[in-house]
Structures are given as structure tokens and as C-alpha cells.
Symmetry: C2
Subunit: 197 residues, 2 copies
């Protein structure tokens, strides 16, 4: 039976982890981004569809373009962060099934040929992969600043033109400035958020 | 600067973690479920909306009912697992904002009064919380068996009647039988799943 991770590890992933709004002037190296992807990619998705697609925005031009499409309150954060990743999901994810699930690719493509099934599968599993990204970043010692305040359609046009990839949320990554963290808000109790059955 | 977690911790969360389809006959104790919630609840959501709602199905009657609403291939898994959690999201999540974000509750309720905004916020952030649940379970040494093959509308009627909570996916939790793991399928390369910009 596996043991729980150490209390400091649980602190780093969950209890002490916070959303950052300001960033130290240190790059996130390409090796770190690749290590991050090499962790998050293992997270489970329905029929191994792995529909998430990522644009790792780190150039000055890319940050300026993305910031210009964000809500005003998010612009300075994006410009200050060393990297902000756009998490999208590909509505054409079934095209990759011959690689991702060779034993059942034909039957799965048939199943996902219903556009409504494909759309909810892409959103659900692409978002799960976004959650794995946040947890993997924290596991690697990075801080996160996830945001959904931006113009999705404009971001799709700017960063996913010519594809059926749809932006979902964005997340700044780096080493956060402690003073940029807002006071923590309460959470629901166990009973407020659910029940046994 | 925070350090990466140890290689064995990264293995437990990501690299060696697998989806289980069969389960040892050991309960998941209530204390463990509460510890799991007390970790996952800290994961970030848009404006601290935390729209996920959970039904922790562990009774024989609950498991039989849930299994009867699942795709045939998932029924035996649900019956064998000590616990299967239904992850839903509450379309009425804005009602909790006076508790969850007191400083901005009024403005946020106005923002979320658009049903389309509320729906996508509930799905996006409820799913993220589902991802945090999977990672928190693994962090506590539990194995996961997430599934989306069930009748969502029927589950809503059976487990969320009289609410605007919508089921999203379900996840068995416990100690998985190693022989119940399927061969691992490939993942997309970094370049197949994204790019720098």
C-alpha cells in the first residue's frame, strides 16, 4: 500500500500553495517546461484522449499579444510573468486516437463522431489536464497564477488559427512574489460541498 | 525558491500512477475522505467559486444504484470499489459567494448572473477541482479509477434531485489491484501537444 506524501509535500501542493499575481524577474527555462509536460502528460483522461493543447507564451511579442486580449486586471500580470501558458483543447482530438489508443481507435472515433460528445469530452478532459498542469508545476517548485478573464474567441484567432483548438484558461508560471498574494478566502466545509451516500 | 518534490513523490503522483479497474476489499475510511477533501479544497478556482460538489458513494445501496446508471463496462468496477465519488458542479454556485468571496460577492454575483457565464465557469472550475481530487487522492496513497461512461441525466435525478447540481465524472477510490491495470497507452510528444510563442 502506498504511503501519503510527507506533510511538507502536501503543503507545497495544496495547503500552502497560493495564486500569485506578481512575479520575480527569473525565466522559466525550456528544460523546466518540458519536465512539466513530461509529468502532466501522465494524468488520466477518458480513453486516453489527452485533448489539451498548450501554447507556452514567453516571448515579449507573445506576452504583449496575449495581454492585449485579457481583461484589464490581468494584463500587467501576464506582462510581468516569465511565462503564461494557454491551455486549450482540440475538438479534432479523435484524429490522434490511432496513436493514443491503437487497440480501440476505430470504435472510439465512431463514438466521438457525435460533435456534442466530442465537445464535452474535450472540455472535461482538457480541463482535467489543466488541473494536472497546475499540480505538476507546484510539484516542480513553480508558482501558478491561473486566470480565465480573457477573450477566448480572440485568443483562438491569435494563437490557434487554422485549427479547431479552443482556449480554456491561461496560467502564469514562475516564481511568485510573496507580496503579490491576496488574503486567502474561505472554503466550503465538507458538508457544504457534499455528502456520503 | 521552492524545490521540486522527491522523485518517488513525482512517481506516485504522475509517472507510476495508473488507472485501476479492480479493487482490494478494504474500506476507504471516513477520516481519509475528509482528509482528501481538506487537501483538494485548497486548489485554485476562478474567483474562489469552488463549484464542485461531491457525493461519496460507499453504501451497498448507493453503489448498486450508481452502477445501474453506468455503462455496462463500468458496473463491476463501481460495485467492487470501496467508494466511488460523483463529481458534480452546482450551477447555483453564485449563492455561496457571500461566504467564498465576501469582498466582491455583489459584483461577482452580477457577473455570474449570465447563465452562459455561470455554466462554463461551473464546468471549468468543477472539473479543475476533480483534477485536484485525483491528485490529492494519489498524494494520500489512494488509487483512482476515473470514469465518464454513465448516464449523467439519470445520475443527476438519482443523486442531485431538487438541486441545480450537474454530474460531471465519477472516480472510484481505494487500493487498486495491480493486475487490474491495462497496458499503458502512449502520450503525445511535447511538440504534438503544443509549442512556444
Amino acid at each position: 500500500m502506498r504511503q501519503p506524501l510527507s506533510p511538507p509535500a502536501l503543503d507545497q501542493l495544496f495547503r500552502n500553495a497560493r495564486t500569485f499575481n506578481g512575479w520575480a524577474d527569473e525565466p522559466v527555462e525550456e528544460d523546466t517546461v518540458r519536465a512539466l509536460y513530461d509529468l502532466l502528460k501522465w494524468g488520466p483522461t477518458s480513453a486516453n484522449t489527452t485533448p489539451a493543447r498548450f501554447v507556452w507564451v514567453r516571448s515579449a511579442e507573445g506576452k504583449a499579444h496575449l495581454a492585449s486580449l485579457a481583461m484589464e486586471g490581468n494584463r500587467a500580470k501576464i506582462l510581468a510573468a516569465p511565462l503564461t501558458v494557454i491551455v486549450g483543447h482540440d475538438l479534432d482530438f479523435p484524429d490522434a486516437l490511432p496513436k493514443l489508443f491503437p487497440a480501440r481507435a476505430q470504435a472510439l472515433r465512431q463514438w466521438f463522431s457525435d460533435p456534442a460528445v466530442a465537445a464535452v469530452t474535450a472540455m472535461r478532459n482538457g480541463t482535467l489536464q489543466g488541473g494536472y498542469l497546475i499540480m505538476a508545476a507546484r510539484a516542480l517548485g513553480l508558482d501558478c497564477g491561473p486566470m480565465s478573464g480573457f477573450d477566448n474567441a480572440a485568443v483562438d484567432l491569435a494563437f490557434f488559427a487554422g485549427t479547431r483548438i479552443r482556449s480554456n484558461f491561461i496560467c502564469s508560471l514562475g516564481h511568485g512574489k510573496p507580496e503579490s498574494v491576496y488574503p486567502r478566502n474561505p472554503r466550503l466545509t465538507f458538508e457544504e460541498a457534499g455528502r456520503f451516500a
